[in-house]
C-alpha cells in the first residue's frame, strides 16, 4: 500500500510555510484548531522530533470577531454587550476597563455605591474565572474530577450574580457612571455565606489536587519563565506574578476604590507552571478577602448604583483620547478610546492580556515534551476569543 503524501490534504499556507524546516526527519503536526487542550480554536503548528517539540508556532484568527471594528461603527453605548464577549470568563474585567476609559474621556463621576458594586462584580468574576481555569487545566493534565467540583462552586457565584446582572456568563453589568442595577439587602449576607463556603473548599482542593505527587510532577519545573522574558513579551497577570514580577494593576495603577482594600498581591519566584498555579490559587483567596471587605462596605455605601447625571444612551464621546487598564483574571486589560466628537468613537483598541501571554508559548515550548507543552499552554490560562478579539 502506498504511503505517498496526499496532495489534497497537504495543509494550508501555515503548514506549508512551516514545513520548509531544515530537517526532513521531523514530524509536523497541527495541534488544533480542533484539539481538546487548546480550549477553543487555537491552532499550534508543531515540529516534533519524537515527542520533543523542535518548534511551535501559534496560528491565530479562527475566532476573530472584529470587536474593535464593531466598536468604531456604532455609538459608544452600544458597545457594552461586546465587552462581555471578548473574554467570556472575565467579562467584568473588560466591562470595568471600558467603563473607566469612557468615564475618563467624558469626565463622568461614579458614586461610591456603584464603585463597591463594581469591585464585588469584578472580584466574584475573577474567582469564577480562576475556578474554571483550575478545572480546565487539570482536565488538560488528565484529571477529570476537579472540573466538576470547580463548576459546582462556580455555579453558586453565577446564581448570586444572576440577580443584579441578569446574566450568567457574558455579563453586561457596567454602565457609564455606575452599574445597571443595584443589589437588594440580602445580597451582602449571601455574599459572605459564599465567601465562607468557598474558603472551606480550598483545603479540599489542596489535599485532592495541589499536593498530589503526579500533579507536582507535571507542573514543577515545567515551562520556567525568566522575569526578563516576561518583560520582553509584555506578559501580565498571574503569568508575570508567577515569575516574581509583582505587577498588579489594582496596586500599581490603582483605579476604582481598590486602594481602600486590604489585600496582598501573591507572587512567586519559581516561574514554572506550578508557580502560576499557586499564584492563581492564592489570588482566589485574596479575592475572597476583598469581597468580604466589600460586603461590609455595601450597607454604608451611598450614592445609588448609577450617577443620576450619567450620560444618556445616545451619548457622544467628547473629542480626545483616553486609556484605562484594569487587572483581569488573565492580566492587564487595556481599553484605548479615541474620539473625534462624532457619533461613533474614532478608534477603539483592546489590549488582551492573553495575546501577550500566548506569545510566550513559542519560545517556552521549544525543546519540551508534547505533554509538557500541553501543561504550559494550560498554565498560561488562555481564552482564545480574547486573543483573537
Amino acid at each position: 500500500m502506498s504511503r505517498a503524501p496526499l496532495p489534497e490534504l497537504d495543509g494550508d499556507f501555515y503548514t506549508r510555510r512551516f514545513e520548509a524546516g531544515p530537517d526532513p526527519e521531523t514530524l509536523v503536526i497541527n495541534m488544533g484548531p480542533q484539539h481538546p487542550s487548546t480550549h477553543g480554536v487555537l491552532r499550534i503548528v508543531c515540529e516534533l522530533d519524537g515527542e520533543y517539540i523542535r518548534r511551535a508556532e501559534p496560528v491565530l484568527g479562527y475566532i476573530h470577531r472584529m470587536h474593535e471594528k464593531m466598536g468604531e461603527s456604532r455609538p459608544v453605548n452600544m458597545f457594552w454587550p461586546n465587552m462581555g464577549r471578548v473574554d467570556y470568563l472575565h467579562a467584568m474585567g473588560w466591562n470595568h476597563s471600558f467603563a473607566l476609559a469612557a468615564e475618563r474621556l467624558g469626565g463622568v463621576e461614579v458614586p461610591e455605591r456603584a464603585e463597591v458594586l463594581r469591585v464585588i462584580a469584578t472580584e466574584l468574576n475573577r474567582v469564577t474565572s480562576h475556578l474554571l481555569w483550575w478545572g480546565a487545566y487539570l482536565l488538560d493534565l488528565g484529571a477529570f474530577t476537579p472540573i466538576m467540583y470547580a463548576f459546582a462552586d462556580r455555579e453558586i457565584v453565577m446564581d448570586l450574580m444572576q440577580v443584579p446582572t441578569g446574566s450568567r456568563l457574558t455579563y453586561c453589568y457596567f454602565r457609564f457612571g455606575g452599574v445597571s442595577a443595584d443589589v437588594d439587602e440580602t445580597f451582602a449576607g449571601k455574599l459572605l455565606d459564599y465567601v465562607k463556603y468557598q474558603r472551606g473548599r480550598f483545603p479540599m482542593y489542596r489535599d485532592l489536587v495541589t499536593d498530589n505527587v503526579i500533579l507536582r510532577g507535571r507542573c514543577e519545573k515545567i515551562g520556567p519563565i525568566a522575569p526578563d522574558m516576561i518583560r520582553r513579551y509584555g506578559a501580565t497577570g498571574p503569568v508575570a506574578r508567577g515569575s516574581g514580577i509583582p505587577y498588579d494593576c489594582r496596586r500599581r495603577e490603582t483605579y476604582s476604590i481598590y486602594d481602600r482594600f486590604d489585600f496582598v498581591v501573591p507572587t512567586r519566584t519559581e516561574g514554572d507552571a506550578m508557580a502560576r498555579y499557586l499564584v492563581r490559587m492564592a489570588e482566589m483567596e485574596q479575592s475572597l478577602r476583598i469581597l468580604e471587605q466589600a460586603a461590609a462596605m455595601l450597607p454604608k455605601a451611598a450614592g445609588g448604583h448609577v450617577n443620576p447625571k450619567a450620560p444618556k444612551p445616545n451619548w457622544k464621546l467628547p473629542a480626545g483620547e483616553a486609556y484605562a487598564a484594569t487587572e483581569g483574571a488573565r492580566g492587564k486589560i487595556g481599553v484605548y478610546l479615541a474620539s473625534d466628537g462624532g457619533k461613533n468613537p474614532y478608534r477603539i483598541k483592546l489590549r488582551a492580556p492573553g495575546f501577550s501571554n500566548l506569545s510566550l508559548f513559542a519560545e517556552l515550548a521549544q525543546g519540551t515534551l508534547l505533554a509538557d507543552a500541553v501543561s504550559i499552554l494550560g498554565s498560561l490560562d488562555l481564552v482564545i476569543p480574547e486573543i483573537d478579539r
Partner: protein, 331 residues
C-alpha cells in the same frame, strides 16, 4: 446426559467440548459485563463528581450502555484515506479476541474452570502481550500522526510494564511452585491473612500498578491521552471499531482483576458465600479500585511513567523475587 456423553455422541473430545462451552459462556459473560462495567464506570465517575451519572435510560440508567452500543453499531465504519485497510481493521479484533482465551484457565469456583490448564499463567501472560500489537496496528494502520504517537507510546509502555508484572507474578509462582491458577487458589485459605496478598504485599502492589498501566487506564492512559493526542491510537476509529477497543479495555480490566484475585486475593475462596460470588466480589472490588484511580489522579508524563517502571518497579520486583527465592529455599 452429562457433558461426557454429549461429547462422545457428537464425536468430539471432551476437552474440546468443554473449551467451546467455556468460550461461549465467557463470551456471554464478557459481553454482558463490559456493558455493565461501562455503566458502573459512569456511575462511579458521576458520584465522585457530585452528579448522578446516567439515569434516564432504563432503571438507574442501566440501559444507557445498550443505547450507546446501538448507536455505535449504527455508525458508518470509516477507513481513513491512505490508511492500511487490512491492518486498520485487524487491530480492534486483535485487541478484543485474546480476552476470551485469557479468561479460559481462571477458576471461578472449586470446579468452575472453563479449561483447566497447568500452564495457565503462561497462557494469560503470553496472550496479554497481544494487546500491544493491537494498539501498534491501530496506530500504524490509521495513517494519522496522533495515532502513530499513541502507538509508539503504547509499545514503550507495555514493554516497560510487562517486566515488573512478570516479576511480581513470578514471586507468587516461586511461593506456590505452580503455574496453575486452580492450584494457586487451592494453596490460599478463606481468610484475608491466608491469601498470598498478605505474604506478598509488595508483589501485589507492583502487580496492581502494572495492571493499570497494561490496560492503559488513567493515570497511565498515555496511548490515548485525549488532552495531548486527541484520542491516541483510536483517533481514526468510528462506530464499532472504536466500540471494540472500548469493550476490550473493559474486558482487559476483568482479566487483570481476575488474575489478581486468583494470585493474591484467594480467588474464589471466602467464608459463608459460595465460591463464584466471592470471586466476582473480589474482581469487582479491584475494578472499582482501578476506576477510583482514574477519577482521582491526573495523567503522568511519559518519561515519568517509564522512570517509575525502570527505576522503581523493576528493581523492587527483582529484590522481592530474590527475597522470596531465598525464603522459599530456606523454608
Amino acid at each position: 446426559m452429562n457433558l461426557h456423553t454429549l461429547a462422545q455422541s457428537l464425536g468430539v473430545a471432551l476437552p474440546l467440548a468443554q473449551m467451546v462451552i467455556g468460550l461461549v459462556a465467557l463470551a456471554a459473560f464478557v459481553g454482558v459485563n463490559a456493558v455493565l462495567l461501562v455503566w458502573m464506570e459512569r456511575k462511579v465517575a458521576g458520584h465522585f463528581q457530585r452528579r448522578p451519572g446516567p439515569y434516564e435510560v432504563g432503571p438507574w440508567g442501566l440501559l444507557q450502555t445498550v443505547a450507546d452500543a446501538v448507536k455505535l453499531v449504527g455508525k458508518q465504519l470509516f477507513t481513513p484515506p491512505g490508511g492500511d485497510r487490512t491492518l486498520f481493521w485487524a487491530a480492534p479484533f486483535t485487541a478484543f479476541l485474546p480476552v476470551f482465551v485469557m479468561l479460559l484457565p481462571l477458576p471461578w469456583g472449586r470446579a468452575l474452570i472453563a479449561y483447566p490448564l497447568n500452564l495457565g499463567i503462561l497462557l494469560v501472560l503470553s496472550f496479554a502481550g497481544l494487546n500491544v500489537l493491537a494498539l501498534c496496528l491501530a496506530g500504524w494502520g490509521s495513517n494519522n500522526k496522533w495515532a502513530l504517537i499513541g502507538a509508539a507510546r503504547a509499545v514503550a509502555q507495555s514493554v516497560a510494564y510487562e517486566i515488573p508484572l512478570l516479576l511480581a507474578v513470578l514471586a507468587v509462582v516461586f511461593m506456590t511452585g505452580s503455574l496453575d491458577f486452580a492450584a494457586i487458589v487451592q494453596i490460599q485459605g478463606d481468610m484475608p491473612w491466608q491469601w498470598l496478598g498478605a505474604t506478598q504485599p509488595l508483589a501485589f502492589v507492583i502487580y496492581v500498578v502494572c495492571a493499570v498501566a497494561e490496560t492503559n487506564r488513567a493515570p497511565f492512559d498515555l496511548p490515548e491521552a485525549e488532552s495531548e493526542l486527541t484520542a491516541g491510537f483510536h483517533t481514526e476509529y468510528s462506530g464499532m471499531g472504536f466500540g471494540l477497543f472500548f469493550l476490550a479495555e473493559y474486558a482487559n480490566m476483568i482479566v487483570v482483576s481476575a488474575v489478581a484475585t486468583s494470585l493474591f486475593l484467594g480467588g474464589w475462596k471466602g467464608p459463608v458465600l459460595p465460591g463464584p460470588w466471592w470471586f466476582l466480589l473480589k474482581v469487582y472490588a479491584l475494578i472499582f479500585l482501578i476506576m477510583w484511580f482514574r477519577w482521582t489522579y491526573p495523567r503522568t508524563r511519559f518519561d515519568q511513567l517509564l522512570n517509575l517502571a525502570w527505576k522503581w518497579l523493576i528493581p523492587l520486583a527483582l529484590a522481592n523475587l530474590l527475597v522470596t527465592a531465598v525464603l522459599v529455599k530456606l523454608a
